[in-house]
């Protein structure tokens, strides 16, 4: 029993060590040549444009349900007109970054783990090395660059459509005038909130893509292994997004507020 626990701890530490080693290789890959520009552009398309639909839907419906729920609560204080403040603060500071990161983890993190995992088990990664290509530079660096830069863009889009969705509900269901709603949206946001909403997605994007890549590059055991890797990437990525979000929020509050 104790032996098994020790083995699990060892395996966990090994994963952390390998993850950190991969991060070191990624940093070296970003700051030195060769940089595979065509692969980076392809990943911008796959991660950014490819995730747009799911982010638009998530942002819109989150904003709408937020307006509905906030309206009910604010009614208790006769402050229904303040719905814009609640929606903007919640979307920009927290829901936009976290939900976008979670949706991208589900779509992109799993895809990266499955793609790299199947390349591992079919020897394509070994073939890359045999052909003189560093798989980290060719496969991981483009995904990390694209993920780190596209998640913030997707987050801003999610924030925007979320507030538009909330505007629609405010007008049609809560009967709050559009001008009142948008005045409250602006009034409810402070510069620190905007910074927090912009800084967090960079870190969350980096975390979710690097976890997907790490899990994919460590895949073993044929098609079953690819299935396990995909599941692990989503589970580990989602938990990491929530944990890192909490830690980054705590640090940013201490630094900015």
């Amino acid at each position: 029993m104790i032996g098994r626990v020790v083995e699990r701890i060892k395996a966990g530490l090994l994963e952390v060590q390998e993850y950190m080693r991969m991060l070191g290789q990624v940093v070296r890959g970003v700051v030195s040549r060769p940089l595979y520009a065509r692969d980076i552009v392809e990943q911008f398309d796959a991660i950014g444009l490819g995730s747009l639909t799911v982010v638009l839907l998530t942002g819109t419906f989150t904003g709408m349900v937020l307006a509905l729920q906030s309206g009910l609560t604010l009614d208790q204080f006769g402050a229904r007109s303040m719905v814009g403040r609640l929606v903007s603060a919640s979307m920009v500071k927290e829901l936009g970054p976290v939900l976008t990161a979670l949706m991208v983890t589900g779509r992109v993190g799993s895809g990266i783990a499955a793609e790299l995992g199947s390349m591992m088990v079919t020897d394509q990664i070994a073939a890359l090395r045999a052909l003189g290509t560093d798989p980290i530079r060719k496969l991981v660096v483009p995904r990390v660059i694209a993920g780190t830069l596209m998640v913030p863009v997707l987050t801003v889009i999610a924030d925007g459509v979320g507030m538009i969705g909330a505007d629609i509900i405010s007008r049609t269901q809560l009967k709050v005038a559009g001008s009142v709603y948008w005045n409250n949206v602006v009034a409810g946001l402070y510069m620190q909130d905007v910074w927090m909403g912009l800084i967090k997605p960079f870190i969350l994007g980096f975390v979710l893509v690097t976890i997907g890549c790490h899990v994919g590059m460590r895949t073993k055991g044929g098609t079953q292994g690819v299935g396990r890797a995909t599941t692990n990437a989503v589970v580990a990525g989602s938990v990491a997004v929530l944990v890192v979000d909490f830690l980054v929020t705590k640090v940013l509050i201490a630094l900015m507020y």
């Binding site: 394509q124 070994a126 090395r129 045999a130 052909l131 003189g132 060719k138």
Partner: protein, 285 residues
Amino acid sequence: MAGTGTAGAPAALAAPRGTDAGGDAVVFEDVCLAFDEKVILDHVTFTLPRGTMKIILGASGAGKSTILRIILGLLKPDSGRVEVFGQRVDGMSEAQLMAVRAHVGMVFQEGALFDSLSVRENVGYRLFEETRRPIAEVDARVAEVLGYVGLDDFGDRMPSELSGGQRRRVAIARAMTSRPELLLYDEPTTGLDPITALTVDDEAVKLRDLEGVTSIMVTHQLRDAFYIATNRAVRDGQRVRFDPLPDDEPGSTLFLMLKNGRVAFEGSAPELRRTRDPYLRAFLS
């Protein structure tokens, strides 16, 4: 890329094929490797002179493919010495190994073609991605090697559209595009029907006899192994003919048999046929 060398490549690697008759292409000296408790290679020693071929036989899990991966630097041995073209590779970093790999081609089991790239892009991968050669020059070389393996019209197809035998031939074409001095074949005919396997065998024989490529083939397909060891390719005008060697002629191909991670036999095809070792007899029967 043979003979052109790579930036930073060791001088020994830059010698044009066929001119450095003295050196060994590969030296394995007392190499050991174990994964946890399982011993994969147990003091394996052999040499591969330039211009020759070695066929590594053995049961599944005997460590055959591991030898190829160690030569290419994809795996590191626990102990022993591994040299490729006079350069010790067992302690090299990944960056140093890239210079060695520029002179080595490998045909993986099942081909390991890149799913997302066309046949043309697969075959020309190393030249497209890792060199600055003009596209027209790379395309010409790709067309040349695809013609060599009899797949001239397949450049625009995707790997998923190819049969098993075509995939292996594309893998051979990809491995030979950059004119490597050493070719490693990892069970290139496993899972193929005998007729298709023969087309793959012919490519290996042609590369050995007509191009002078040093090679190692890992297989447990005895029919293919003996065909390659006992036939030679001869150019006959525009055509290539395959002639059987006389029964007692050893040829330039030697067999190496692995048993439980150790070398159980090393010799020519006639010597292997004459062996009285019970394990080898059982393997050959």
